[in-house]
């Protein structure tokens, strides 16, 4: 029985991303402005360049921003609950580092967009496999998973450093540097399918089990005493969250802070109950990334890397949240 005010907020929360996606289609470097873009959408001239841009360039890209933002925020939210730590970011398990290594290796060796996307995803899966295999042996406790994740991250970061060192500064290194800063400029309808499918599956799973995720915030003993199979569930959630991160990084490069900050804001808004937290995080994350991506591709002639924008926005937001959080708990102890 949700009180009316809360229901109103919920409606706003879920209508917002939709509205933003539609709005984003009207902005871009090309064309005379919002009005012209609007008219162009309803024009019946088949050779209209602006409409072609809107449908073939802006729309897939904006959708990708929506999905990537939702993925990263939802993954961050469930990982924070899983590790019982609100400071956890989606990068903690080493999945992003694996994906970064895979993508840059593909840039070094081939450079084709398909190779980069597949390379990123493949090595993200390698990272997941390593973390689960070693973590399971260590009992699949939160601490074990984090430690293995940190080690995996460090390994792939070192290998990435090696790639940067041997990359040709003329033709390869700029591409590598740019990819690492994050961006969606390469998104087309043709390469969007993996992101949509994997996100649907993984996010769908997390949405289905989201009430059960509340139990995972209790200690292992309590959760077991409530009849929950903790280890398999934790592994399943880690896999789902990792897949979300893997597919997002493969599509958009390294984008940080969404997985850390958005769940906090969502939690402040709808509370820690995953029943509301997971969809709220996803909606908010998607909305924010749509706005940032629209800025990235419109404000300057050159593309502003998304990772830079999320960092510039995320760090002050995080500090503000931290101050508010500490104040609420009664000062720094």
């Amino acid at each position: 029985m949700t009180p009316p005010r809360r229901r109103g907020l919920s409606i706003l929360l879920y209508a917002l991303p939709v509205a933003l996606v539609l709005g984003a289609l009207l902005f871009g470097r090309y064309g005379g402005g919002v009005g012209e873009a609007f008219r162009s959408l309803f024009s019946w001239r088949t050779d209209d360049v602006l409409r072609s841009l809107i449908v073939h360039v802006r729309l897939p890209r904006t959708l990708a921003a929506l999905v990537v933002g939702a993925d990263l925020a939802a993954a961050g939210a469930v990982l924070q609950g899983l590790f019982r730590n609100p400071l956890v970011d989606s990068r903690i398990l080493g999945v992003s580092s694996g994906a970064a290594f895979g993508a840059c290796l593909a840039i070094l060796v081939s450079g084709s967009a398909l190779a980069v996307q597949s390379g990123a995803f493949f090595f993200a899966l390698v990272a997941i496999a390593v973390v689960l295999a070693v973590g399971w042996r260590l009992g699949a406790t939160p601490l074990a998973l984090i430690l293995v994740g940190v080690a995996t991250s460090a390994l792939f970061d070192a290998l990435l450093g090696l790639i940067k060192y041997v990359a040709d500064p003329l033709s390869k290194l700029p591409a590598i540097t740019y990819w690492l800063l994050g961006g969606l400029s390469g998104t087309r309808w043709s390469n969007l399918a993996p992101l949509l499918i994997i996100s649907a599956l993984a996010l769908g799973f997390l949405m289905l089990v989201r009430w059960r995720l509340n139990v995972l915030t209790l200690s292992d003993d309590e959760a077991v005493s409530l009849g929950v199979h903790v280890r398999p569930l934790r592994v399943a959630v880690v896999v789902a969250a990792s897949l979300l991160v893997a597919t997002s990084v493969s599509q958009a490069g390294m984008i940080g802070w969404i997985g850390l900050v958005v769940p906090h804001v969502a939690r402040a808004w709808v509370g820690p109950n995953h029943v509301r937290l997971v969809p709220a995080s996803a909606a908010l994350g998607g909305a924010i990334l749509v706005v940032l991506d629209t800025i990235a591709r419109t404000v300057l002639p050159g593309e502003i890397p998304l990772g830079i924008l999320t960092g510039l926005l995320g760090v002050p937001a995080f500090l503000l949240l931290l101050v508010g959080y500490l104040r609420a708990r009664g000062g720094t102890q």
Partner: protein, 261 residues
């Protein structure tokens, strides 16, 4: 309902057994206390009774059935655990925290339904927390939070609740408020097993007690018969006096020299 440990033993490592052939039982309507010094095996015994640990020798039975043979879900519907004191990380509301007790009844891909909400209502009412249902658990006192965990156990439908040192951080008012609730619930048909450091509380509230020393059962029986100065000396290594007051009050007082003023 009868939950018993039958000559149960447990060891983390072969060379260091922490529980040795302990027999202990609790039935509907009883409040059983497990007493002993630190490291005597109280938490281990509680863990065995909860089904969180598996005995290396001997058995733990619930209504005659081996506890290990029960599916975790089934066990959860009958035995509940109230953990030691800890600060919750997330600020769930009282209602949401108690609702977690319905986990054994709610499917993996589902959310609590009408039945579950009713069970939560009843549980909140039974411990007297209905008025605080929307309060975040991070904004409760220690005593109120213990009531939340007990309510959660009731929402599980558990006939027996296991409490690990529930009053360690509570002031006298909250401690006895808690036990007032416990007594009320027991009168309504529950059973409680309480691991504790406080023989004086056991003296007042327990139906029967068990003293553990170095992982073995030292003495067990009714509270009045078992809590004696002699047993206390052997368990805690210091002198106590067990007193009875005019109005039926019972007390355990340490025999310590008067402080020079």
């Amino acid at each position: 309902m009868r939950l018993e440990a039958d000559r149960a033993s447990f060891a983390y490592r072969k060379e260091a057994p922490c529980l040795h052939q302990v027999s202990f039982a609790v039935e509907t309507g009883e409040i059983a206390f497990i007493l002993g010094a630190n490291g005597s095996g109280k938490s281990t015994l509680l863990g065995l009774l909860a089904g969180l640990k598996h005995p290396a020798a001997g058995a733990v039975r619930l209504d005659g059935q081996l506890l290990d043979a029960l599916a975790p879900r089934e066990r959860a519907k009958r035995v509940g655990v109230v953990p030691q004191f800890h600060d919750p990380v997330f600020s769930f509301s009282v209602e949401e925290a108690v609702a977690l007790g319905r986990s054994p009844y709610v499917g993996l891909f589902s959310r609590p339904g009408r039945e579950d909400r009713l069970a939560v209502e009843r549980a909140l009412d039974a411990v007297g927390l209905t008025g605080l249902r929307r309060r975040p658990i991070t904004h409760l006192s220690g005593g109120e939070r213990q009531l939340v965990w007990i309510a959660r156990g009731l929402a599980q439908g558990a006939g027996c609740l296991l409490l690990d040192e529930p009053t360690a951080h509570l002031d006298p008012q909250h401690e006895h408020g808690l036990f007032a609730v416990v007594r009320r619930l027991v009168a309504g048909g529950a059973a409680f097993v309480i691991a504790s450091h406080h023989p004086e509380t056991a003296l007042v509230y327990a139906t029967h007690v068990a003293f553990l020393k170095d992982g073995a059962l030292l003495e067990s029986g009714s509270a009045d018969e078992t809590i004696t100065a002699d047993v206390l000396r052997r368990v805690y290594g210091m002198e106590f006096a067990v007193l009875a007051g005019q109005g039926g009050e019972r007390a355990v007082v340490p025999r310590v020299g008067a402080v020079a003023r």
